[in-house]
Amino acid sequence: MKRNKALSILFAGAILAGSGCKKFLDVNKDPNNPLTVSESLILPDVELTTSTQIVGGYNANVTSYWMQQLSLNQPSPGIETYLMLPNDDDNTWSFYLYPNVFQNLNVMITEAEGAGHNQYVAIGKTLFAFNMAITTDLWGSVPFSQALQPTAIPKPKYDKQEDIYKGIQSMLDSALYYIGQPASKIAPGSDDMVFGGDMDAWKKFIYSLKARFYLRLSKAPGYTASAQADLALAALANGFASNSDNATVAYSGSSQAENPWYEGTLPGAGGVVMNKQFIDGLVARNDPRLPILATKGSGGTYAGRQSGADVALSPNYKVFSVPNTFYGGFLPLVASTAPQPGTAASVYLMTYSELLFIQAEATFYKSGAAAAQPIYEAAIAAHMDMLGVSGTDKATYIASKTLLNASNAIQEIIDEKYVADFLSIETFNDWRRTGFPSLTIAQNAYLSGIPRRWPYTFTEVLTNPQPEQNGVTMLDRVWWDAQ
């Protein structure tokens, strides 16, 4: 009896200890990081990631080398000379795009849809479409319809680029729909780094993007330039109407909010300078934008570096022109204590000038060179206004341009768009689509031609092998980049 009592006490003690243990061990809640956050805390970082890592930063650096706007004063082979390996673009795909942009937007859109925060839904879908276009433009077929479901679909299949472009357009239509819905009181404000919550501005941006993406398919198999021009013209009628509508992200210039081009042109980046191709073009045309876009080299003249030129035989990178501060360039020739206004430059997601060039090209397809001429001139003027070029310089330059005609129009339009879209990935898209500006392969090139796409990334190939990855080289064309 006594023994039984002792046993039962022991038993009860053990149970008590057991349940006490459970409680004792229940300390695995992360006190350092929240598990849910509101849309206003997700939106600014998606916008900052988009401008810092997708539109600026490494991505645009690569295309600016290939499009010979910039050059890297380093021995070849390297990115500039087309040695791009599957880990070079891994961060862009494996961190910035799919997790940081798309998954965060996915969470934000779901949250906003559930709560009826229509403005956040609209902005979320727009940013999603904007970045998805960049993704498919660089890689072709990519995860889209099966993406962003970590438990249900651990290995998302790829969608065809054609279907992705359809999806992008319907996403933008959906964004327009949500803008049309009653505005929620929980609305974006200063957390919206692009338009500060101005939904009319977003609406213009959405229409402008629709135009950009319609015209992207001007040569796509099964699509015609004329039909795409119609669609683009219809959309852009509701698009940007002036430079004040430009979609930009501003940087405060403090060291934790510096323009990505400033960061990317610091001496530690290895000597990022202006390309000979770009500088020589502006010099030859006597373009008044030259001093705003580039600095003079240490020799007191504008000097660009030939892509892939032998570094050892070229002197210090400081003899070359570098990007000036309007787009965020670092000034290597000023004293180390001098201010660097490039830190606070804005990054341009899309400009009024670009939209006018789209309109000029579309108008040319529909109505010919003469109809496109004034729009083309307005497009140049819009970029010059954005840069603050004086009225006389602007007029002189535009007057010096050859008139558009049936055979030169596309080249003239795209050559000028190439300047107006300085440092933008759009130059790479336009070059692939139209062949302009006409570029020659870099010296000491690692490939036999200028690349037309990016390699599927290391982590993607490792974790999600898909048939579309097989046998693709960087010289292969994406779907819309038809011969």
Partner: protein
């Protein structure tokens, strides 16, 4: 029951009082040769009280003539002597058979006769660790224990070292052995550099805080059977440290000993070419006169003239390094009485590194006090206090790493003065920092204050029953700060400071009840039950400031922009354990352990998990009566099987939180706008991983212990490995996941051979050889995943691949014919690079071995330890980069021709065309193929060699000095290597996983050390 026992005790006492005719007895205890044995315990049989012999072996005790005295001492067979009519006794004790009575410290600090062990352990004496002359305790273990692999990360003072036992058993979790001091687990983490070790190097591992001077011995528990009682933290093997106890002459007289050493440390430098000037394609660029070129593909300096005079050549690498020095001083005072003992020890170690300004210093204070509170109640308290201070420069291929620039510097460039007249840095190229400027304008300071208190209370209510309560803690504050001055070429040209404070606290409590009893004269039983509670807390504060207002003033208040973050981690574990050991006729031992653990870091429904082990040992020589056999006097076979659960994952790995927004140098809040972004690692529910290990061993001793041979084979399978960094299809929105993914096995053989070829009165020669070979394979990763990375760059990097050994090197290779494996050459006859990455090397060695020889002749001792690693690769990233710059010694063959043995890809014919090994071959082919930087990591080195002289008692007679010894030691002299870099035993990844690659780490040193030890 208890009452009746007491009654019995009282009765016995009464009886004694009535019948005893007590008389004083004196005696002397000697060994079989007649030399006195001090400190032996003398008791009257049936009484608790006793006495102990003094330093001369003399004792006094009161006993009746009918009484029996029990005389016992460590290392001697216990003897019973009837008092009879004697009043003065001389008692000779026989030395006990060492093979049967040797005692070692096992899991939970439990002392066990070695013969009872059913698993492999290997002991290292504290004196050996001191003789190894290493700042870092982990390095002192190198080459000494079979199955233990030690890798030093670099020659930087205060660098970390990694220790694994029986290879790797976790994919991305902790693989290093558990450190335990006097029964209390201690942290051996490496705080690391927040800028990533690849670009900044590492910091020290915390086991380096332990002063070898305070260590009595280390016992290495190798397998899961040995450590099952410890629980999961020791599943990867355990290093059991036992600190010194108060020893000496007894009577409370203090023993004072003093030791001091001074070293000369020389860096083992990689080899560079000294023939070709700065420039490209043979054209000279003069970096001293404003010329800018990053490469050394200029003309031969023999014929090169500048302004008519022969060009001046500099040995920039050699000039940059200097001779390092280490001073190590220790004072220890110890003493004991029959009821108490004490030790007080203070050490100061200071190392000045071979890289200018780098240093490491450590003050360590240790004190222990043990007292018999009651005859059956012992209390031992101790405290270790350590203050360490480390100043280092960055390593790796970051812009702030001086070696990155000095290794690539042209021989025709003079790096001094480092400033131009206008105050800017003087350089031969753009986009780098002058290494001497970095020395004066950047640095990392790392300070630690640590205390390790232990309280041990042991109560013997009955002679066979021991209740132990042990409470210990490990608490430290580690403060790390980095600064780079205004004018640095980096992402922060206006300068930067960061400070990090980690406050770590770990509390461990064990309550152990152990009964040991000879049930019959044939059967001995030892049963133990216990409970363990372990809690860990870590507070981490990080603050970064950029844009310094006053150049060179490194205080966070001087930064224009400040960002910070704070993290708090809490982790708890509870364990219940039991062990039963049965020994039959000191011949057959069976042992069973079981443990039930609960861990806070696992999914709530998977928090608790049981595991255990069963093992047996059979001393067949005992059965065969071979103890006195002149050839083989001891032989034991051991078999053990264990299954251990493990919670090898950090706290808070289960959830999918949002992190405060920061990408690159962009971080929020800005202008009042804040932001969070979702984790990129998806947290699936997690259960414990499990290890199953089978171990069989043979222990033998020959020629009456003149030789011994221990052989162990083990087979360890790890399943459901916790892998928080498993790559995951980024298209899911998460580029990695926390999963129970992956299985792997380690199989290996460990051999320890001891041999004493000579043992005479004046001359003794002992040799110990250890050898081990471990085969590892990763058998499974997460579904569909064929690799996981844990070191290096995306490529080249260090990976685990399914179907490959852990730690393969992955990267680009030369294009090869799949059938013949011959090179596929281009039309000109040059090799071509395959941009698709493949496995190009394996960081795991084929085998490792060590040989220690000690020769003692009278007062002289000559000893050395050879350490050998055979096979395994190292990725020489120094060369990978430097091939472009043309500075490695291997680029000196430029301009020569070679016919590559391969097939011309377009024709399919064997190549016969010689090609010139020109600049473009090195930069466009050799440097691009990662394969060209994979090298054989084999080495044979003198880990240490020392010659010592011990002044004997006769020489010191009449002096206050009781002992005096002088030694000269040489450490880390490489006798053989194939590696073209410094020392193949380095790793930029510090103590982390992902070993086998070096990239601009400070080369390791070889040293000459002079030492003195005196006791008073």
């Amino acid at each position: 029951m208890r009452k009746s026992l007491m009654l019995l005790g009282i009765l016995v006492c009464c009886c004694m009082l009535v019948f005893a005719q007590v008389k004083p007895i004196t005696g002397k205890v000697t060994d079989s040769k007649g030399s006195p044995i001090p400190g032996v315990t003398v008791k009257v049989k049936g009484q608790r009280a006793g006495t102990s012999a003094d330093a001369e072996g003399n004792f006094k005790i009161n006993a009746s003539s009918s009484a029996t005295l029990i005389i016992s001492g460590v290392g001697f067979e216990t003897k019973e002597v009837r008092v009879g009519d004697f009043e003065n006794l001389t008692i000779s004790l026989r030395q006990s058979d060492a093979s049967l009575s040797e005692v070692v410290v096992t899991a939970l600090g439990i002392k066990r006769e070695k013969r009872l062990l059913t698993y492999a352990t290997q002991e290292v004496k504290g004196t050996t660790l001191v003789e190894a002359k290493q700042d870092n305790l982990v390095n002192a273990l190198a080459g000494k224990v079979a199955g233990v692999q030690v890798t030093n990360s670099s020659g930087m003072p205060g660098s970390s070292a990694r220790i694994t036992i029986r290879g790797n058993s976790s994919l991305v979790g902790e693989n290093q052995a558990l450190f335990v001091i006097d029964g209390i687990p201690m942290d051996n983490g490496e705080a690391g550099n927040p800028d990533n070790s690849l670009f900044a190097g590492g910091t020290v591992n915390r086991a380096s805080d332990i002063d070898p001077n305070t260590i009595e011995s280390i016992n290495v528990l190798k397998g899961a059977a040995a450590t099952a009682l410890y629980g999961s933290a020791a599943a990867r093997g355990a290093v059991i440290i036992t600190t010194k106890n108060g020893s000496g002459r007894g009577g409370g007289k203090p023993n004072v000993s003093f030791s001091s050493s001074y070293s000369f440390d020389g860096a083992i430098l990689p080899k560079f070419q000294h023939q070709f000037a700065q420039g490209s394609n043979g054209v000279f660029v003069d970096g001293n006169n404003g010329g800018i070129s990053s490469t050394s593909w200029g003309p031969n300096v023999d014929t090169l003239k500048v302004n008519g005079a022969p060009v001046k050549v500099y040995d920039n690498v050699k000039n940059f390094f200097k001779t390092g020095h280490t001073t190590d001083n220790n004072v220890t005072v110890s003493g004991n009485t029959d009821r108490s003992n004490y030790v007080v020890s203070y050490s100061y170690l200071k190392t000045d590194g071979t890289e200018p300004t780098t240093n490491y210093s450590r003050h360590s204070f240790f004190t222990k006090y043990g007292i018999k509170l009651l005859n059956n109640l012992n209390l031992s308290t101790q405290i270790t206090y350590v203050h360490s201070d480390n100043h280092r420069l960055l390593e790796g291929n970051g812009l702030e790493s001086p070696l990155w620039t000095i290794y690539a510097a042209p021989i025709t460039w003079n790096p001094l003065p480092y400033l131009n007249p206008d105050g800017s840095q003087q350089l031969y190229r753009a986009s780098r920092n002058n290494p001497y400027w970095l020395v004066d304008n950047t640095g990392l300071n790392d300070k630690t204050d640590r205390i390790l208190p232990v309280l041990n209370l042991s109560y013997n209510p009955l002679s066979w029953l021991t209740i132990t309560e042990r409470l210990g803690a490990d608490m430290y504050t580690n403060t790390t700060g980095f600064y780079e001055n205004t004018g640095v070429v980096s992402n922060y040209p206006q300068g930067r400071i960061w400070n990090r404070t980690n406050e770590f606290q770990q509390f461990n409590n064990d309550l152990i009840i152990e009964g040991r009893k000879d049930i019959t004269d044939k059967l001995f039983v030892d049963v133990l039950v216990g409970n363990n509670i372990l809690t860990k807390y870590n507070n981490s504060n990080f603050i970064q400031g950029t844009e310094l207002s006053i150049p060179g003033f490194y205080n966070i208040s001087n930064a224009s922009n400040v960002s910070s973050n704070y993290n708090y981690y809490k982790q708890r574990k509870v364990g219940f354990y039991a062990q039963a050991t049965l020994e039959y006729l000191k011949m057959l031992t069976l042992s069973f352990t079981g443990r039930y653990d609960g861990s806070s870091v696992l999914s709530q429904d998977k928090q608790f998990y049981p595991y255990g082990s069963a093992s047996a040992g059979f001393i067949f020589t005992q059965l065969l009566g071979m103890a006195t056999n002149p050839v083989m006097n001891f032989g034991k076979i051991r078999v053990a099987y264990s299954a251990v659960g493990n919670d090898n994952v950090q706290p808070y790995s289960l959830s999918n939180p949002f992190y405060h927004y920061a990408i690159g140098n962009i971080s929020l809040p800005v202008n009042g706008v804040n932001g969070y972004q979702l984790t990129t690692t998806y947290g699936f529910p997690l259960k414990n991983e499990s290890l199953k290990e089978f171990e069989v061993g043979l222990e033998t001793k020959f020629f009456q212990n003149r030789a011994s041979l221990d052989v162990t084979y083990f087979d360890r399978k790890a399943t459901n490995l916790l892998t928080p960094g498993t790559p995951y299809a980024p298209g899911t929105g998460f580029s990695s996941a926390s999963l129970n993914a992956g299985d792997m096995y380690d199989r290996g053989v460990e051999v320890v051979l001891g041999f004493t070829p000579i043992r005479t009165k004046d001359l003794t020669w002992d040799i110990t050889v250890n050898w081990s070979r471990i085969r590892n394979k990763v058998t499974r990763l997460a579904p569909g995943i064929n690799s996981i990375q844990f070191g290096g760059f995306t490529h080249p990097g260090i990976f685990a691949f399914a179907g490959q050994p852990y730690g393969v090197i992955y990267g680009t290779s030369f294009l090869r014919d799949s059938a013949t494996h011959k090179l596929l050459l281009d039309d000109n006859g040059y090799p071509q690079v395959d941009n698709n990455s493949t496995v190009i090397g394996n960081s795991t060695p084929n085998w490792t071995g060590g040989l220690t020889s000690t020769l003692t002749y009278k007062g002289f001792t000559f000893g050395f330890t050879l350490d050998m690693k055979q096979g395994g690769n190292i990725l020489n990233l120094d060369n990978h980069y430097l091939y472009v710059y043309g500075t490695p010694a291997s680029t000196a063959i430029r301009g020569t021709t070679k016919v590559f043995d391969g097939i011309i890809q377009s024709t399919g014919k064997q190549n016969t065309t010689p090609v010139v090994l020109d600049q473009s071959y090195f930069t466009n082919i050799l440097s691009v193929a990662d394969e060209s930087s994979v090298e054989d990591a084999s080495y044979l080195k003198i880990r240490q060699a020392s010659l010592g002289y011990n002044f004997g008692n006769t020489l010191l007679k009449g002096s206050v000095v009781k002992g005096l010894a002088l030694t000269v030691t040489a450490t880390n002299f490489i006798l053989h290597k194939k590696y073209s870099g410094s020392d193949p035993e380095v790793s930029l990844n510090g103590s982390g996983n992902g070993q086998g690659f070096s990239s601009f780490n400070v080369p390791s040193n070889h040293s000459i050390i002079v030492g003195l030890k005196a006791s008073f």
